[in-house]
């Protein structure tokens, strides 16, 4: 591995960090606040109120639904608790709060008007029956206390301690609570996904615009220098050919040169006008990969093939460029370092994205090299960086003498220009990579 040259690419510095999606961020904040509120609400729902020295605590409260708590007067349930610091002779009076005949919240003594007392057991616990209510109150009262049957406000005279608790089930036990949690979590995930997508899209847009400006500059440069020069040379050659006698042996040769120059001028003009055609029409990835070994001047001894699976779909031009660069890097590694006898590229057009596989049967990459991903070596870091930029996943699998497999997966909404015609997920509101602000139906 001594001669493994540095084939990594220079880092592309980002000029501007893309702003995160405000909407998505707001979504996260809102859902988190919702959760906090819900959980906070739960904690507050059981508050024990302590008046003086002695204290009452509920250990068992009937849990019924809200509608039962406000209506059903025929039902009796058990309510129980403990008392700390009660003097001998003191008793408990239980109240349940419900809506009376005039539509007002009222405390009703429990369980029955004729029997409002609850004895404190020797082990400081108490136990009674109660009708359902929105709230329950337990009062520690002195002997001889006469509890009112109903009251808007709890009595305080002759009361040593009071405890109040919610009558309906705590919020986390309600049927809709898990649903809200799931929804909040889903909202958070969607929001995060939105932020991620926004970033990827924004980075791509930025690079796309930079690239467009760069292409215009290059085109202008070529137009002003090369093209004008060649046109001028061609004009002057034309004049010179005219001045040579018609029977001169140089005539046909010069005419041929003129013809070639004409072709060069036409090609140059077309290239400049198209600003490089690859961005205009959907570029053919398969063809591009087919050409790579020839372009790089690699030998023909290695068996090389490109396989396409699925129906090819038009790709986003800028994403295509990145895929091509990553694949090319992988191929350079395979051809130059693996010593493989067979190298294969597989392009798989799936419903949810494009998978590019570069596989060889060569010597493999050393595991420590893979793990450490040493900067520059094998261009691995460059490939990873590129993949990350377009929101793609890159995996490199390699074993000694088992060859190397580089798998790149780019999600469909990033890589494909058009949505799948009858995909399963078309109902999902999926943000798409829009470089154009507007797409014209053809």
């Amino acid at each position: 591995m001594v001669n493994a040259t540095n084939i990594g690419r220079p880092m592309v510095t980002r000029r501007n960090r893309p702003r995160s999606g405000h909407l998505a961020a707001r979504g996260i904040v809102v859902s988190l606040l919702c959760l906090c509120f819900l959980l906070g609400g739960c904690r507050e729902s059981r508050t024990d109120v302590q008046v003086t020295g002695p204290a009452i605590e509920f250990t068992g409260v009937p849990t019924v639904s809200r509608s039962d708590a406000l209506g059903d007067a025929a039902k009796l349930s058990t309510i129980k608790g403990r008392v700390i610091g009660a003097r001998p002779g003191q008793q408990i009076v239980v109240y349940a709060r419900a809506i009376n005949g005039y539509g007002q919240w009222t405390w009703f003594v429990q369980p029955f008007v004729r029997d409002p007392w609850t004895k404190i057991q020797s082990n400081s616990t108490w136990r009674s029956s109660t009708h359902p209510g929105g709230q329950y109150a337990a009062l520690l009262v002195d002997p001889g206390f006469q509890p009112p049957w109903t009251t808007a406000l709890l009595p305080t005279q002759g009361v040593a301690a009071v405890a109040i608790t919610q009558g309906w089930p705590p919020i986390w036990q309600s049927w809709w609570f898990p649903l809200v949690c799931v929804l909040a979590a889903a909202a958070a995930i969607f929001a995060l996904y939105g932020v991620w997508l926004f970033r990827v899209t924004n980075t791509l847009k930025l690079r796309f615009e930079e690239r467009l400006a760069e292409r215009m500059r290059v085109a202008q440069e070529l137009h002003d220098t090369l093209l004008q020069g060649v046109i001028s040379a061609s004009m002057q050659l034309d004049v010179a050919v005219d001045q040579i006698p018609a029977d001169s042996p140089a005539q046909p040769a010069l005419r041929h040169i003129l013809q070639i120059m004409g072709q060069v001028i036409d090609e140059g003009r077309n290239t400049l006008r198209g600003l490089r055609s690859s961005t205009e029409s959907a570029p053919d990835v398969e063809l591009a990969f087919m050409r790579i070994p020839k372009e790089l001047g690699f030998d023909h001894k290695t068996a090389y093939r490109v396989v396409t699976e699925g129906t090819p779909r038009p790709l986003q031009a800028i994403v295509h460029d990145e895929i091509y660069s990553i694949g090319r890097e992988a191929l350079v590694n395979a051809f130059r370092h693996s010593g493989a006898s067979s190298i294969e590229v597989e392009l798989e057009y799936a419903v949810n994205g494009l998978r590019v596989l570069v596989r060889d049967n060569g010597c493999g990459i050393k595991p420590e090299m893979l793990r450490l991903g040493r900067e520059g070596h094998w261009g691995l870091s460059g490939m990873r960086e590129r993949a990350e930029k377009i929101g793609a996943k890159l995996r490199v699998m390699s074993g000694a003498s088992a060859g190397t497999e580089v798998v790149l997966f780019v999600p469909g909404h990033i890589v494909f220009r058009d949505p799948p015609s009858n995909g399963r997920w078309t109902w999902l509101p999926k943000p798409r990579l829009r470089i154009a602000e507007h797409e014209v139906p053809k």
Partner: protein, 209 residues
């Protein structure tokens, strides 16, 4: 042929190499000669005044202002001036603008020199001349809706690699307005993204390289 009888040709182009080539062609013809050359619009107007050439070959792109603007300035002084636009690209919008502004001919630099001198002769004899391939290009987009001045401006900014926000700042309009302009540009040009819009704009001469 006497000096007076020959067609006196004036060449305006900012590329010295190209002027050299055109001069070689013109001076090689027995019936014409190069009377003067200019490299920018300002110089072109002054030289025209001084030399009163029979036929002027005008580049579409000049460093100080457009060739069409220079032609308009010259024709304002001398309405009879016979001017041929000589350019690299056959953009229909350029051709239309040039003809509307009074150009007598429109020729591509890449055409064979024989065609160029033929057009010069015909224009000198008072005819108008557009090569067939340019006429076809013109006809193809005859019914297309033209971009407004503002839209052309926005397209030029896109070609400069500006983002919507930058364009809005430069043109003193809101980002929303920029988006509406871009939407209209895409529709009118039949483009599906920014690069394509720029490419079509360059090809049709809506914006210049």
């Amino acid at each position: 042929m006497s000096e007076q009888a020959r067609i006196r040709v004036f060449s305006v182009d900012d590329h010295p190499l190209l002027r050299e080539g055109i001069a070689a062609i013109i001076n090689n013809q027995p019936d014409m000669f190069m009377v003067a050359q200019a490299a920018n619009a300002q110089d072109a107007i002054a030289q025209f005044r001084a030399h009163r050439p029979d036929v002027t070959l005008m580049d579409l792109r000049l460093p100080d202002q457009g060739g069409i603007e220079a032609m308009i300035a010259i024709r304002a002084e001398s309405p009879e001036a016979r001017i041929i636009m000589l350019t690299t690209f056959e953009g229909d919008v350029d051709i239309k603008r040039a003809l509307e502004a009074g150009a007598r001919g429109y020729v591509l630099k890449s055409m064979p020199p024989k065609e160029l001198v033929e057009v010069i002769r015909q224009v000198h004899s008072g005819k108008k001349r557009i090569p067939p391939q340019l006429a076809a290009q013109l006809a193809e987009h005859m019914s297309d809706e033209a971009l407004t001045e503002r839209e052309v401006e926005v397209l030029g900014q896109i070609a400069g690699g500006n983002r919507n926000r930058d364009i809005a700042e430069r043109l003193f309009i809101t980002e929303e307005t920029v988006k509406v302009h871009i939407k209209h540009i895409m529709e009118k040009l039949g483009a599906s993204d920014r690069t394509q819009a720029v490419a079509i704009g360059v090809r049709r001469g809506i914006i210049q390289l």
